[in-house]
């Protein structure tokens, strides 16, 4: 594995020259950033993994265009958000009953295994995921960036390419929509 202390700029330069090991190090360095965004948007699973891969492939093909105007973290998050929004569009178009059936079956099987704590954390996860799934994609993007990734309102606006006021209004609507579904967790 390549040294973690090598600055991003050096790795980027080497990756631009075709050094695949340098690019791999960048993937390893930033996969947690992309994972937080993509899984926040889509939930865990193969689809999120696939979208995460597409994010880095898209970054790889645009390596020569990236000149560091934004930080690499912000740049990757922007790609990840756009890829996730595309995935949500595809999901809306092609989601089949077969896939939903499989998902329910998996959850039911899992519920029978493990300790009470695990079951409880799984329940929390499912409630939160189900609440996030009810949000419109644009609201979901704001919730992911602000609450999960921890970006500020200004950074979120920059990533989404919208005014800060739009971020605030989308967040406000999203929180009000989430509240009734997360009420039991709030009381607990």
């Amino acid at each position: 594995m390549m040294n973690d202390r090598i600055p991003d700029e050096d790795l980027l330069e080497r990756a631009r020259e075709g050094d695949q090991a340098a690019f791999r190090t960048l993937v390893e360095r930033y996969e947690h950033v992309v994972a937080a965004t993509v899984i926040g948007m889509l939930g865990p699973g193969a689809e999120a993994d696939d979208v995460g891969q597409e994010t880095f492939i898209s970054f790889y093909t645009a390596l020569k265009k990236f000149r560091g105007e934004a930080s690499l973290k912000t740049y990757l998050t922007r790609i990840a958000i756009n890829q996730s929004l595309n995935a949500l569009k595809r999901r809306k178009r092609f989601r089949s009953r077969h896939v939903e059936g499989e998902l329910i079956e998996t959850i039911e099987l899992d519920a029978g295994e493990g300790s009470a704590d695990r079951a409880e954390s799984r329940e929390v996860r499912e409630v939160v995921r189900s609440a996030i799934d009810r949000l419109a994609p644009k609201q979901r993007a704001v919730v992911t960036l602000r609450l999960i990734d921890g970006y500020s309102t200004r950074e979120t606006a920059e990533i989404l390419g919208v005014p800060e006021g739009t971020v605030l209004s989308r967040l406000s609507r999203a929180l009000k929509r989430l509240q009734p579904h997360l009420q039991p967790l709030m009381e607990a």
Binding site: F23, A35, D49, R146, L147, L168, L171, L175, L178
Partner: protein, 112 residues
């Protein structure tokens, strides 16, 4: 009714801590594998594009070939100096004598 700020402070940690947002192990390997695979794709794409162009141009090329062959055949002369079309239609070779003979036969017809 909770204010936005309070909602943010209450719901934020619940949402943030609800799930472990990490990819399955071996993620970077999967990415590099796809990059290698996609590097081979342009060759396949070019080959498919050429195939599509061939299918589109082949009938036109065949029609041009037939037309040029026909034109070429029509232009060919037999040993008697007739074109292939004249020979196929059974026409007499055109010479000064045959032209006079035709002329005389036309006058003879007028005299009658």
């Amino acid at each position: 009714m909770m204010r936005d700020r309070d909602l943010l402070d209450t719901l934020g940690p619940i949402i943030r801590d609800a799930e472990d947002r990490r990819f399955e192990p071996g993620f970077s390997g999967r990415v590099m594998e796809r990059i290698r695979a996609e590097a081979e794709v342009p060759v396949i794409v070019l080959s498919r594009a050429l195939g599509r162009q061939f299918l589109r141009l082949a009938p036109i090329a065949a029609a041009v070939l037939v037309a040029l062959s026909a034109y070429s055949l029509l232009g060919l002369r037999t040993s008697s100096g007739q074109s292939m079309l004249e020979t196929a239609l059974g026409l007499e070779p055109l010479t000064v004598e045959t032209a006079y003979a035709l002329d005389q036969s036309l006058y003879a017809a007028d005299d009658e």
